[in-house]
């Protein structure tokens, strides 16, 4: 009994000391969300990771055919994330900005997983799976997404099915601002 108490006490100390901690707590990467009416909200990676998330498969290809992945990825669906600033609706566009000066624009339909070109592992076009979900990814293969690969926040397309490849232009790296237009 004494031994059990000792173990519990050690565990409590470890927790109190922060050894079992939020893996995103030390990431200094504010994300600014801007709603269609101009509402702004700044979120930390920790706050984003605390939102309801989805996990699945992600796989991208560059414009010259270099494949990136496959990854097991986790993140927040972009369409759900934008509920933080009033949501996004039909006819509106979503502008995703990166810290390196890159910009990509998504349609409302694309955020629903439609109008996205999908390729198989041989880079032949295939039907878009119903599970296709564009997300703001913060974890790949079980660890916080690394800066060198475009983290800590990167747009990704997630599917339940493996080996569904999408075009890399959508996979915006180093996302630091998302605006709803229209």
């Amino acid at each position: 009994m004494k031994q059990l108490l000792l173990i519990l006490a050690i565990f409590a100390c470890i927790c109190a000391a922060g050894c079992v901690s939020d893996p995103y707590a030390d990431i200094d990467w504010p994300l600014t969300l801007v709603g269609a009416d101009g509402t702004e909200k700044v979120m930390t990676v920790s706050q984003i990771a605390a939102l309801p998330s989805v996990s699945g498969n992600g796989y991208a290809v560059s414009t010259v055919g270099i494949k990136y992945g496959p990854y097991k990825i986790t993140g927040v669906p972009l369409i759900d994330l934008l509920d933080q600033v009033g949501g996004v609706h039909e006819g509106q566009t979503v502008h995703v900005f990166a810290a390196d000066g890159y910009l990509w624009v998504f349609s409302y339909e694309q955020l629903l997983g439609e109008d996205l070109l999908c390729l198989d592992v041989n880079l032949k076009e295939m039907k878009t799976p119903a599970t296709m979900t564009p997300i703001l990814m913060y974890t790949a293969d079980g660890v916080p997404y690394p800066y060198d690969d475009g983290g800590p926040l990167r747009v990704a397309t997630m599917t339940a099915e493996p080996d569904v490849i999408t075009e890399g232009s959508l996979w915006v790296k180093w996302v630091d601002r998302i605006e709803v237009h229209g």
């Binding site: 414009t63 010259v64 566009t93 000066g101 624009v105 070109l117």
Partner: protein, 328 residues
């Protein structure tokens, strides 16, 4: 005993070194070329490395703007930049980097290309199309046409420039609308003013479902669609069509963006992209001859080796080969 062990260990080391187990590290030369140069550069890389086994040429293809951004925005250690639009180097690299020195102050133009229409034996009217009638064939309702995304790929906005110039230079009123513009909602319109021809693209460039136009992110996906029969004709560079073993039809020199003599005609046409994809370069693309150029960034990790490889590469392009853009 200890002495024999020492001798034994030394013998193992000598043997390992002689047999190549302790390999000499190669000098890496990083090259970022435009996607349309990948095929020739793979050949050139092999030839160069065979002659210089101590060198490892590492090639990473990108769109031309992205290739330059590896140096200017992403600060990657790049030894040689090779792009499909010579104007991009002064536009994006003749400016100070973080150390107060220009990314580069020079470039060497070395090859040219031109836009063509690639097709296959299965394409509609494949046996009928020619330089004289291509625009009439493309206008037919049952012909599907593809081009790459103008926001992502120079061949994409160059397609729009070709079609604008074709309507004007070949005197075919309504051609742009018939082949491209009417497949979008709202329709893409060519604005004709005293300054020339201009098309403003919407933020989202998506052809209507079941229209005659298909757009893909890049040439390789477009040509895959062509080969699978998803489209009948694809606009691309001549060297790419040849490199892929596709049939193609040449376009008139006043519209194909391939002739220096027509530079003053080409620059009548301008495309305004729907949004500024990169903060470091604007969204205006004006017609000019397709000229390839190379430069070595000021902070290249291996500038001397880059210079040697570049000289070899330039000589290889003068000699030419299947899928090589034509030398200047």
């Amino acid at each position: 005993m200890r002495k024999s062990l020492l001798i034994f260990a030394l013998l193992i080391i000598v043997f390992a070194v002689c047999s190549g187990c302790v390999a000499e590290e190669k000098t890496v030369v990083k090259v970022v070329p435009a996607g349309s140069l990948l095929l020739p550069l793979e050949e050139i890389e092999l030839e160069y490395e065979a002659l210089h086994p101590e060198i490892d040429i590492q090639i990473e293809g990108h769109g031309s703007i992205q290739a330059i951004r590896q140096v200017t925005d992403l600060h990657q250690p790049i030894d040689l930049v090779v792009v499909a639009d010579e104007s991009l180097i002064p536009d994006m690299m003749y400016q100070e980097g973080p150390e107060g020195v220009n990314y580069t102050d020079w470039y060497t133009p070395f090859a040219r290309n031109e836009m063509v229409l690639a097709f296959t034996d299965s394409s509609a009217y494949a046996d009928e199309i020619s330089t004289e009638n291509w625009y009439e064939i493309l206008s037919r309702d049952d012909v599907k046409v593809g081009f790459s995304n103008p926001t992502l790929d120079a061949a994409g906005y160059r397609t729009l420039l070709v079609m604008m110039l074709a309507e004007e230079q070949l005197q075919v009123p309504g051609l742009f609308s018939a082949v491209i513009g009417s497949s979008f909602d709202p329709e893409l319109i060519v604005n004709k003013t005293d300054d020339g021809l201009a098309v403003e693209l919407p933020v989202l460039l998506q052809p209507e479902t079941n229209s005659k136009v298909a757009i893909r992110d890049a040439s390789m996906f477009l040509l895959s669609l062509l080969e699978s029969g998803g489209i009948d004709y694809a606009f691309d560079y001549k060297s790419v069509a040849i490199g892929q073993g596709l049939r193609y039809v040449e376009l008139q020199p006043e519209v194909n963006l391939g002739e220096e003599a027509y530079a003053s005609v080409y620059d009548d046409a301008t495309v305004y992209l729907g949004f500024q994809r990169f903060s470091t370069i604007g969204n205006e693309r004006t017609g000019m001859p397709v000229v390839y150029a190379a430069t070595i960034p000021y902070d290249a990790p291996e500038p001397e080796e880059a210079e040697k490889f570049m000289a070899f590469m330039l000589a290889a392009f003068v000699e030419g080969g299947v899928g090589y853009p034509a030398p200047l």
